[in-house]
Amino acid sequence: MKRRVNLVVIGGGAAGLSAAVTAKENGIDSVLILERNEELGGILPQCIHTGFGLHYFNENLTGPEYISRFVKKVYDLGIEYKLETMVLNLSPKKEILAVNQSEGLIKLQSDTAILAMGCRERSSGALRIPGERPAGIFTAGTAQRLMDIEGCIPGRRVLILGSGDIGLIMARRFVMEGAEVKGVVEIMPYPGGLDRNLQLLRDFDIPLYLRYAATFIHGRDRLKAVTISKVDGNGKPVRGEDETIECDTLILSVGLIPENEISKKAGVKIDPKTGGPIVDENMETSVENIFACGNSVHVHDLVDHVTKEGEIVGKNVAERIMGNLPKLRKRIYLKAEGNMRYVVPQIISGERSLTLYSRVRRPAFDAEIRIGRNITVHKRVVKPPELIPIEFTAERLEDLEKEEEITIDMGE
């Protein structure tokens, strides 16, 4: 016998919790959150640093503090959730097959589903660094979990590969735990993290190697050293310009990938540019009544934005269940070109004002974003680590040509 529910939320992190809470607050009774981990909260319980909630709560919170407010809402509203529960399959008809230790196989039939699985770290296998394969190579998130949840330090002499936010935050964390951080290595000519996180390299005198790549791993059983090489404009190592840095630990902070195995099983179309589902302005995927939010749609830089997106989805799903939110009547496809790497949502109706979120490939100053033929949006500065909001106001929509596909472009 399949149990029937109105809404299943897959993933109990920032996106899933805010979507579930908002759906419940908007009158949906049977909401069920399925979470793989042993606690709710996703990645935030291990992000012990501050900087969360500055936009959403106008307060400077740590990750555990931020997410505890949503976990409390889940408890207070009596929303049902299952922990240590792995979703094995989601069908286009919203049949769900999940498994956990106490109940075994769980079969559900839901009216709607929200994909909120978050993202996963790119691992060492994806980098193909020549050399040996010793112990001592960790992704930043794994190191964070080991240190701040499980209570063991992965190593004492640390090199960080990738200057994204998580890498920079872990550099500081290692210093605070008494480890020696040898440097942060970045292949691009500019750092990958937010400006506010670069400050901490200066605070702790950690060298930043820009335009460098890891080119050899040394060490048989445990990591002994990593060779890094200067790269040219094409990212190719320059002969003779290398350095071997002794270390017992290599931390990888080399990108996040939206997690969408379940989405694909449900037949949801994926945007190769974001790695997440193609969504319309309601955040509905290509499969009717399956919505998506958070880092499984595209990698956000601030959790505050993830929470907001979850709320929009929670509200939309509630409206849909009550029969007040029809599928989009008109569909205009947005196509990112030039320096614009991607834009979300990818499909709009052109009938309602909304905020688009986009990301650029390279930094630019005094940038002009052209939307179709008639609209130009000016941005003082755009950088790859920062999501760029594009306000689609009623006036701008008036200027939008009525075509099936609109290009969003920024010159090279």
Binding site: I48, T62, M176, R196, D203
Partner: protein, 113 residues
């Protein structure tokens, strides 16, 4: 996000600030050049908890040069579960007039060690 600010100092006093787009930026730059402070957070060990580490933070930012001394001080601390979010872990750490508080709840472990 944020703005790039230049500040000019004469005899340790800020004489000119350029680039700040709001009052907060101005206040921050003065603080930053005169006596920089940072948010402080780390973990302390837990006895009898569901997880072995408790995340903690300072109630206010602390002087930058006190980050490591505070971390070393907290390395000595072991707390016992259960712990409630917001509960003080160390009061008036190193006489800075700042408390260290828990940033999560930790339940007691059902297993006995």
């Amino acid at each position: 996000m944020g703005c790039t600010i230049n500040a000019w100092l004469r005899n340790g006093e800020v004489v000119k600030i350029e680039g700040a787009k709001c009052g907060r930026g101005k206040d921050y730059s003065i603080q930053e050049v005169k006596s920089p402070v940072r948010d402080f957070f780390t973990t302390v060990r837990v006895k009898g908890g569901k997880i072995p580490m408790l995340s903690v933070r300072s109630t206010r930012p602390i002087p930058k040069n006190m980050l490591i001394p505070c971390a070393l001080e907290l390395a000595k601390v072991v707390v016992s579960a259960p712990i409630k979010l917001g509960e003080p872990v160390v009061k008036n750490i190193l006489n800075l007039g700042i408390d260290i508080i828990a940033t999560k709840n930790i339940e007691e472990s059902r297993k006995s060690f």
